[in-house]
Subunit: 323 residues, 2 copies
């Protein structure tokens, strides 16, 4: 069962890699292929982590580290694009101008709506666009460099081997579902333990103003508050991947998928808020620009709080329906 799952995911990985290589200058195709590549890399790495005891552990740990490096490197570029779009959309919304269409490479998203923006909002948009476009360009170069590196070729080779042959550890001849159950339960327990440390009672009160408590203090205070939620996001993903093996072909658990979506929004909003705060530390910006970035930062921190509220609501549904 585990070997079959890993074979399939490795097949996905290799197919996405080929599509990525063939995409050339087609940005949309490259983005789609890179997204599928990251998706399969995360699933392979997640399985190697959860089912480590059923595999050759040294080999599993090493490949997992390499896959984490790869998907992290590939994710940066698209994270910059998504963050810029989120922030420019928020600036448009805060100016009463409605949403903007999805930003693509080359389009200036700030320019599209500048007519409706105040001076501060459009300057803030232009500043964020400069900074995040620069970061995206750097990430793109880093991704290209990674995909051409011998380190990457070693990962691709390892995945190609794994597509046909999984180095399983010798286990007693129990049924597959029983052998898989222990690591799966452990993954679920780690998730439940992490969720139990979250301040869910507070998150259940709308407008608790918790996410903005450190809105004007040092960035590290704000990050400390977010860390347990980011941790739950990662553990929830591992738990979902571990379940996919058991329920291969079955429908994914909608509650877990929704909860994961809320935590993705939490992470995206937290990073967007940090990008706005960071842009405000640019030397010699106009007060109107700084003011707009302050409003934007607070807005995104409220999205963080809203995502926690959503997660709490969704998790409550799970508690009711769970066996």
């Amino acid at each position: 069962m585990l070997a079959g799952y890993l074979n399939t995911r490795c097949g996905d990985f290799l197919r996405s890699l080929r599509l990525y290589g063939e995409s050339g200058s087609d940005t949309a195709a490259a983005e789609e292929a890179a997204s599928a590549l990251r998706c399969s890399a995360r699933r392979i790495a997640g399985s190697l982590h959860t089912f480590r005891v059923l595999l050759d552990p040294v080999w599993a740990d090493q490949l997992r580290t390499e896959l984490g490096w790869l998907s992290g490197t590939l994710a940066q570029e698209y994270a910059c694009t998504a963050r810029l779009h989120r922030l420019v959309s928020a600036l448009a919304r805060l100016s009463g101008a409605g949403a903007v269409p999805a930003a693509r490479n080359g389009d200036g998203p700030a320019a599209e709506t500048s007519g409706a923006l105040t001076v501060g909002a459009s300057r803030a948009g232009a500043l964020l666009e400069r900074q995040l476009t620069l970061a995206r360009t750097r990430s793109h170069s880093a991704a290209l460099q990674a995909l051409g590196s011998s380190r990457f070729h070693a990962v691709a080779d390892a995945v190609a081997v794994l597509a046909s042959e999984v180095p399983l550890a010798p286990v007693a001849g129990a049924p597959a579902t029983e052998i898989l159950a222990a690591p799966q339960s452990a993954a679920e327990r780690r998730l439940l333990d992490a969720v139990s440390t979250l301040p869910l009672a507070r998150a259940a009160h709308p407008y608790n103003a918790e996410a903005l408590v450190h809105g004007l203090s040092t960035p590290s205070d704000g990050e400390a508050q977010d860390a347990p939620w980011h941790q739950v996001r990662l553990l929830l993903r591992l738990h979902r991947y571990a379940q996919e093996i058991r329920h291969a072909g079955g429908a994914p658990d909608p509650v877990l998928a929704d909860a994961g979506g809320a935590l993705d929004r939490h992470r995206d909003a937290a990073e967007a808020a940090a990008a706005a705060a960071n842009a405000a530390r640019t030397p010699r910006i106009a007060p109107a620009t700084a003011y707009a970035l302050g409003v934007l930062h607070a807005d995104q921190r409220h999205e963080v709080e809203a995502a926690r509220y959503d997660f709490q609501q969704i998790w409550g549904r799970r508690a009711v329906t769970a066996p």
Copy 2:
């Protein structure tokens, strides 16, 4: 019944006026007396408005206008104090420094917590303190000038007459409760009509981000969004005062009192947000100050949204318990 109610309120008014005159340099006593004076002036004016048809209408309209001028003038000074305290407390909260003790004349509230504030937050606090202290001083002078004016003496004389003699219009000899019922129902109907125009369905969704939709556009757009809520606040107060006559001595309706409290917070937060936005338009401020004012503005607009959510929740309780 109406005459008795007006007599009592006018007695309260005259007693508060005497206490205010005797308070001298005792700020707390002056504040308390002025608050009681405004409270009775609002109730007299409200009754003159609701029960206009049972009184000499020309006389009622004129006295009501004068009482509105008086309570409006007296309210300004304390509104400035409360607004400054709200904003300085919010800055402390946003810096993770906790709440600050209530600000009083002469104490520098920003100074108390500056150790814990970032440069931007403490500069923003100092700027708001300068601007709102100046506004408070002006309001204090205006209040003193009003209390010494012949216009005020005419109001006090009219209230003194009303304390013993109410110019009722001739009405058919029906029971008092029946005669009072029609204007009371009209006041309630005006309230219900105004509430029905509020976007309550939207307010029921936490984190709808509605209050900040115009966070970066012109101030008048934001004010247009708040106006219907402010109108409901006034009509709710008139309805509560009209009910006081019927249930004289009885306990006030807790739902109406809570709903009024939510709308008071709505108004206070909206005005505090406007004060922060206004301070950000001060020429030659540092970007860090402007950024902190932006965060503060957004924070107060979220308090506006939270107050709408609270009102919607409270109003829902009323719909369940109302006959």
